[in-house]
């Protein structure tokens, strides 16, 4: 009997790692992931629903969440299986609380709360945008403070992260988000959904100087604006309908060039002005190859270090949520209690 105690306590002291099971369903994807000690991705399962949504040219919220409800148990089971763990090996649960579509968020939160209740596992609600930033911590050793450029389907923000809990939003879009502009231009040109990856690929064949679209700098402000650029593409196309694949490639390359010049120049200028030594890119648009290229180019000789996640970690995934949860906790062990289950979905959550 005493031996048994000794063994279990030995096992416990040996177990100086923390396994977090994270669930993310803020929008298109249902995703579950097991992250060990905040950095090691044991699994990161993303049930891409893009094949369903593609024919609608956008996300259908009701469809998305119904699908999430059916998917989520499967995705969680798959994440545990891929990690070669059982639920008993999990120390903490994490779930996206917002921002996002209410129906989609609810599906993930319901699943996480159920697991928490049944297995008496502590549960942490995480901000989706914080998750996007923490995707960087999965792959790089970074210490705040840094300047983060959050560029996704719903957000375009310049953020200062001082430490693991303090954020300051310097500027944001006044109208359309960057990813939104990509998606709308792609739709306008009948290129499909989501627009970002398609334009990224097609633009490689085009001439980025073909059309001089406006560069919306909003000088003197940290804000962004992309609706004017979107409308310039509408104006151009109404006068010059795409006549060939080459022409189409030139149009999207020129659009993209305008976007990335503004993002890159504005972010680097802000970092220099505020004496930030690190720039961190986050969100789906951070996967853009031309953007990464231009940033890498322009950052030279500035003394600033640039970080960005691998493409799969830029778009929505649960590993980034698990990582954010880990840094929230650091080495604190969290104990389960029922109060942890009282939080609600927050579609408009801010950093």
């Amino acid at each position: 009997m005493q031996n048994l105690h000794l063994i279990t306590s030995l096992l416990q002291t040996n177990k100086d790692f923390m396994n977090i099971l994270a669930i993310e369903t803020s929008c298109d994807e249902a995703s579950a992931s097991v992250v060990q000690n905040g950095r090691k991705i044991l699994s990161n399962v993303i049930s891409s629903q893009i094949h369903i949504h593609a024919k609608y040219g956008g996300v259908v919220p009701e469809l998305a969440s119904r699908h999430h409800l059916e998917n989520i148990n499967f995705v969680v089971a798959e994440a545990l299986a891929k990690a070669r763990l059982r639920i008993n090996d999990i120390d903490t649960l994490a779930v996206t609380q917002g921002p996002g579509l209410v129906g989609s968020l609810l599906a993930g939160i319901m699943a996480a709360k159920t697991l928490s209740l049944i297995y008496r596992l502590p549960l942490l609600p995480i901000n989706h945008i914080e998750g996007h930033i923490y995707a960087n911590f999965l792959e790089h050793r970074i210490k705040p403070p840094f300047l983060a450029l959050v560029i996704s389907g719903g957000h375009t923000e310049l953020v200062i992260q001082r430490d693991h809990t303090h954020y300051k939003i310097l500027g944001r879009t006044r109208d359309d988000a960057v990813g939104e502009a990509y998606d709308k231009v792609a739709k306008l040109l009948d290129l499909g959904y989501p627009g970002g990856p398609v334009i990224d690929k097609l633009a490689k064949k085009g001439d980025p100087q073909y059309i001089k679209f406006p560069r919306p700098y909003l000088t003197g402000s940290y804000d962004f604006s992309f609706s004017g650029l979107k409308t310039s593409v509408v104006n151009y196309v109404s006068k010059h309908p795409a006549s060939s694949v080459q022409h189409l490639a030139d149009v999207v390359a020129s659009f993209q060039q305008a976007v990335i010049e503004v993002l890159v120049n504005k972010t680097i200028q802000t970092a220099l002005k505020l004496k930030m030594k690190k720039i961190v890119l986050a969100g789906g648009v951070a996967a853009n190859s031309a953007l990464r290229g231009l940033f890498t180019d322009k950052i030279r000789k500035t003394g600033i270090t640039l970080y960005y996640p691998s493409p799969v970690l830029c778009t929505d995934n649960a590993a980034m949520i698990g990582c954010a949860a880990y840094y929230r906790l650091k080495n604190k062990k969290l104990e389960y209690n029922q109060k942890m289950l009282t939080f609600k979905a927050a579609p408009n959550l801010q950093l």
Binding site: P99, D175, D176
Partner: protein, 148 residues
Amino acid sequence: MSISKLNKIVITKSAAETQRFGRKLARQLKPGDLVCLSGGLGAGKTCLVQGIARGLQVKDYVNSPTFKIINEYAGKIPVYHFDLYRLEGLTDLRELGYEEYFYGQGLSLVEWAEKIIPFLPKQYLRIELRRVDEHTRKIILTDWRRKK
């Protein structure tokens, strides 16, 4: 609501002018009103909503709700800004809780409302924005009543 006297056609020559028109229009809109905005990509739906919101003393940035589908603002009265662009067909909107908004105590402003016509209340103000050229927009207001 007495929106029938709003029936008219306005031509604007810039985004600023459209916003100015929105600010003026705001004076005539009341809690419980529904405004449906139609017009293609870049027609100026969001731009007009920005003006209306400003007219209702909304201090926040009014940005495009395309991704979030709904943004709520606190002005002189509550303002609910929808964008149903990413919605297709007659999807069940209940999940959004749209009825609480449409029949609630705030002003609902809906971009791409044509996607949910069967779900719209009997009466609303319909605003169509037409792109005439780069800087010119034709704004057509109609008091819309569905015969039941």
